[in-house]
Protein backbone atom coordinates (compact mmCIF):
# COMPACT_ATOMS: atom_id res chain seq x y z
CA UNK A 1 0.00 0.00 0.00
CA UNK A 2 1.50 3.32 -0.99
CA UNK A 3 1.15 6.37 1.17
CA UNK A 4 1.30 9.78 -0.49
CA UNK A 5 4.22 11.65 1.01
CA UNK A 6 3.53 15.07 2.48
CA UNK A 7 4.40 18.31 0.74
CA UNK A 8 6.60 20.73 2.65
CA UNK A 9 6.70 24.53 2.49
CA UNK A 10 9.73 26.33 3.86
CA UNK A 11 8.85 29.93 4.63
CA UNK A 12 11.76 32.37 4.77
CA UNK A 13 10.96 35.60 6.63
CA UNK A 14 14.38 36.84 7.78
CA UNK A 15 17.26 38.74 6.16
CA UNK A 16 20.32 36.56 5.50
CA UNK A 17 23.38 37.77 7.44
CA UNK A 18 22.74 39.14 10.92
CA UNK A 19 21.21 35.89 12.16
CA UNK A 20 21.88 32.29 11.13
CA UNK A 21 18.23 31.40 10.57
CA UNK A 22 18.30 31.91 6.80
CA UNK A 23 21.23 29.48 6.52
CA UNK A 24 19.32 26.97 8.68
CA UNK A 25 16.27 27.20 6.41
CA UNK A 26 18.51 26.49 3.43
CA UNK A 27 20.05 23.44 5.14
CA UNK A 28 16.59 22.04 5.90
CA UNK A 29 15.47 22.63 2.30
CA UNK A 30 18.51 20.79 0.93
CA UNK A 31 18.01 17.87 3.33
CA UNK A 32 14.37 17.50 2.25
CA UNK A 33 15.51 17.76 -1.36
CA UNK A 34 18.09 15.00 -0.82
CA UNK A 35 15.35 12.69 0.44
CA UNK A 36 13.09 13.54 -2.50
CA UNK A 37 10.46 15.08 -0.27
CA UNK A 38 8.33 17.47 -2.32
CA UNK A 39 9.44 20.86 -1.02
CA UNK A 40 8.64 24.45 -2.01
CA UNK A 41 10.43 27.59 -0.89
CA UNK A 42 8.53 30.74 0.05
CA UNK A 43 10.13 34.15 0.60
CA UNK A 44 8.21 36.88 2.38
CA UNK A 45 8.98 39.93 4.55
CA UNK A 46 12.72 40.49 5.05
CA UNK A 47 13.20 36.97 3.65
CA UNK A 48 13.13 38.48 0.15
CA UNK A 49 16.53 40.03 0.89
CA UNK A 50 18.00 36.53 0.60
CA UNK A 51 17.35 36.64 -3.13
CA UNK A 52 18.62 40.02 -4.29
CA UNK A 53 21.61 39.93 -6.60
CA UNK A 54 25.05 41.37 -6.01
CA UNK A 55 25.36 40.51 -2.31
CA UNK A 56 28.88 39.90 -0.95
CA UNK A 57 28.69 38.44 2.57
CA UNK A 58 32.45 37.69 2.45
CA UNK A 59 33.01 41.41 3.14
CA UNK A 60 31.51 40.99 6.61
CA UNK A 61 33.09 37.56 7.15
CA UNK A 62 29.90 35.61 6.53
CA UNK A 63 30.17 32.48 4.40
CA UNK A 64 28.36 33.01 1.11
CA UNK A 65 25.65 30.38 1.54
CA UNK A 66 23.50 32.25 -1.00
CA UNK A 67 25.63 30.68 -3.73
CA UNK A 68 24.05 27.34 -2.82
CA UNK A 69 20.66 28.66 -3.99
CA UNK A 70 21.80 28.01 -7.56
CA UNK A 71 21.94 24.28 -6.70
CA UNK A 72 18.18 24.13 -5.99
CA UNK A 73 17.41 22.41 -9.28
CA UNK A 74 19.85 19.58 -8.49
CA UNK A 75 17.88 18.96 -5.29
CA UNK A 76 14.55 19.09 -7.17
CA UNK A 77 13.64 22.30 -5.36
CA UNK A 78 11.95 23.87 -8.34
CA UNK A 79 9.15 25.77 -6.67
CA UNK A 80 10.41 29.11 -5.41
CA UNK A 81 7.79 31.74 -4.59
CA UNK A 82 8.42 35.39 -3.78
CA UNK A 83 5.88 37.76 -2.30
CA UNK A 84 5.39 40.74 -4.65
CA UNK A 85 4.14 42.97 -1.83
CA UNK A 86 7.26 42.33 0.27
CA UNK A 87 9.43 43.48 -2.65
CA UNK A 88 7.27 46.60 -3.10
CA UNK A 89 7.36 47.43 0.63
CA UNK A 90 11.16 47.32 0.50
CA UNK A 91 11.55 49.17 -2.82
CA UNK A 92 13.47 46.24 -4.27
CA UNK A 93 13.66 45.54 -7.97
CA UNK A 94 12.93 41.97 -9.05
CA UNK A 95 16.63 41.37 -9.71
CA UNK A 96 17.51 38.01 -8.18
CA UNK A 97 20.71 35.96 -8.03
CA UNK A 98 18.83 32.82 -9.11
CA UNK A 99 16.53 32.29 -12.04
CA UNK A 100 13.38 30.19 -12.19
CA UNK A 101 11.54 32.01 -9.37
CA UNK A 102 7.90 33.07 -9.23
CA UNK A 103 6.95 36.53 -7.99
CA UNK A 104 3.33 36.27 -6.87
CA UNK A 105 0.65 38.36 -5.16
CA UNK A 106 0.01 38.05 -1.43
CA UNK A 107 -3.29 36.37 -2.19
CA UNK A 108 -1.65 33.76 -4.41
CA UNK A 109 1.17 33.37 -1.87
CA UNK A 110 -1.33 32.51 0.83
CA UNK A 111 -3.28 30.20 -1.48
CA UNK A 112 -0.18 28.20 -2.43
CA UNK A 113 1.01 28.07 1.16
CA UNK A 114 -2.29 26.47 2.15
CA UNK A 115 -1.81 23.73 -0.45
CA UNK A 116 1.11 22.28 1.51
CA UNK A 117 0.79 19.64 4.22
CA UNK A 118 3.64 20.91 6.39
CA UNK A 119 4.76 24.51 6.92
CA UNK A 120 8.15 25.32 8.42
CA UNK A 121 8.78 28.99 9.13
CA UNK A 122 12.22 30.50 9.54
Amino acid sequence: MSVKSKTVAIVNTKAPFAKTIAKEALDVALIYGSYEQETSLFFQGDGVYQLISGQQPEIINVKNFLKTFSAFEFYDLEKVYICQQSLADRNIKADFHIGNVNVITTHEFSRLLHQHDVLLTF
Binding site: A15, F17, A18, D46, S53, Q55, Q56, I60, R90
Partner: protein, 96 residues
Protein backbone atom coordinates in the same frame (compact mmCIF):
# COMPACT_ATOMS: atom_id res chain seq x y z
CA UNK B 1 24.66 66.45 25.29
CA UNK B 2 24.69 64.82 21.89
CA UNK B 3 23.74 61.21 21.42
CA UNK B 4 24.91 58.67 18.88
CA UNK B 5 22.12 56.41 17.62
CA UNK B 6 23.11 52.99 16.29
CA UNK B 7 20.39 51.35 14.19
CA UNK B 8 20.91 47.59 14.06
CA UNK B 9 17.66 46.20 12.67
CA UNK B 10 15.17 46.57 9.86
CA UNK B 11 12.28 48.90 10.67
CA UNK B 12 9.80 46.70 8.79
CA UNK B 13 10.54 43.74 11.05
CA UNK B 14 11.33 45.44 14.32
CA UNK B 15 9.00 48.19 15.48
CA UNK B 16 11.43 49.21 18.24
CA UNK B 17 13.53 50.91 15.55
CA UNK B 18 10.86 53.60 15.06
CA UNK B 19 11.61 54.76 18.63
CA UNK B 20 14.92 56.14 17.35
CA UNK B 21 12.94 58.75 15.41
CA UNK B 22 11.05 59.82 18.51
CA UNK B 23 14.26 60.27 20.45
CA UNK B 24 16.31 62.10 17.84
CA UNK B 25 17.60 65.61 18.59
CA UNK B 26 18.93 67.96 15.85
CA UNK B 27 22.57 67.61 17.03
CA UNK B 28 22.45 63.82 17.22
CA UNK B 29 24.21 61.45 14.84
CA UNK B 30 22.72 58.29 13.37
CA UNK B 31 24.56 55.22 12.08
CA UNK B 32 23.05 52.30 10.20
CA UNK B 33 24.80 48.97 10.70
CA UNK B 34 24.06 45.25 10.37
CA UNK B 35 20.42 44.71 9.27
CA UNK B 36 19.81 48.38 10.06
CA UNK B 37 21.37 49.03 6.63
CA UNK B 38 18.14 47.83 4.98
CA UNK B 39 16.44 51.00 6.21
CA UNK B 40 18.11 52.99 3.40
CA UNK B 41 15.26 51.81 1.17
CA UNK B 42 12.61 52.99 3.62
CA UNK B 43 10.81 56.26 4.39
CA UNK B 44 12.44 55.87 7.80
CA UNK B 45 15.66 57.41 6.43
CA UNK B 46 13.74 60.35 4.93
CA UNK B 47 12.03 60.95 8.28
CA UNK B 48 15.43 60.88 9.99
CA UNK B 49 16.82 63.41 7.54
CA UNK B 50 13.95 65.77 8.35
CA UNK B 51 15.17 65.75 11.96
CA UNK B 52 18.94 65.74 11.50
CA UNK B 53 21.11 67.08 8.63
CA UNK B 54 22.42 64.74 5.96
CA UNK B 55 25.96 65.31 7.28
CA UNK B 56 24.95 63.50 10.50
CA UNK B 57 23.58 60.34 8.81
CA UNK B 58 26.02 57.49 8.32
CA UNK B 59 26.15 53.84 7.35
CA UNK B 60 28.94 51.31 7.73
CA UNK B 61 30.32 50.83 4.23
CA UNK B 62 31.20 47.08 4.39
CA UNK B 63 27.77 46.32 5.87
CA UNK B 64 26.08 48.15 3.00
CA UNK B 65 28.23 46.58 0.28
CA UNK B 66 27.73 43.07 1.69
CA UNK B 67 23.97 43.56 1.32
CA UNK B 68 24.22 45.10 -2.15
CA UNK B 69 22.35 48.21 -1.02
CA UNK B 70 22.24 51.64 -2.71
CA UNK B 71 24.68 54.03 -1.07
CA UNK B 72 23.46 57.40 -2.28
CA UNK B 73 21.35 58.90 0.50
CA UNK B 74 23.85 58.81 3.36
CA UNK B 75 27.55 58.99 4.13
CA UNK B 76 29.54 55.78 4.19
CA UNK B 77 32.04 55.25 6.99
CA UNK B 78 34.60 52.63 8.04
CA UNK B 79 34.84 50.74 11.32
CA UNK B 80 37.51 53.17 12.54
CA UNK B 81 35.23 56.13 11.72
CA UNK B 82 32.59 54.46 13.90
CA UNK B 83 35.14 54.24 16.68
CA UNK B 84 35.80 58.00 16.39
CA UNK B 85 32.06 58.66 16.57
CA UNK B 86 31.75 56.48 19.68
CA UNK B 87 34.49 58.43 21.45
CA UNK B 88 33.12 61.79 20.36
CA UNK B 89 29.65 61.38 21.83
CA UNK B 90 28.49 61.62 25.41
CA UNK B 91 26.01 58.80 24.98
CA UNK B 92 25.17 55.97 22.65
CA UNK B 93 21.81 54.31 22.12
CA UNK B 94 21.70 51.03 20.24
CA UNK B 95 18.31 50.41 18.66
CA UNK B 96 17.84 46.71 18.03
Amino acid sequence: MTTLHLIRDSVLINNTITLALTNLAPDDVIVLLDDGCYNVNQDFIKEIQIKVPYTQCFAIEPHMRARSLPTTNLNLISYSDLLDLLFNHNNVITWQ
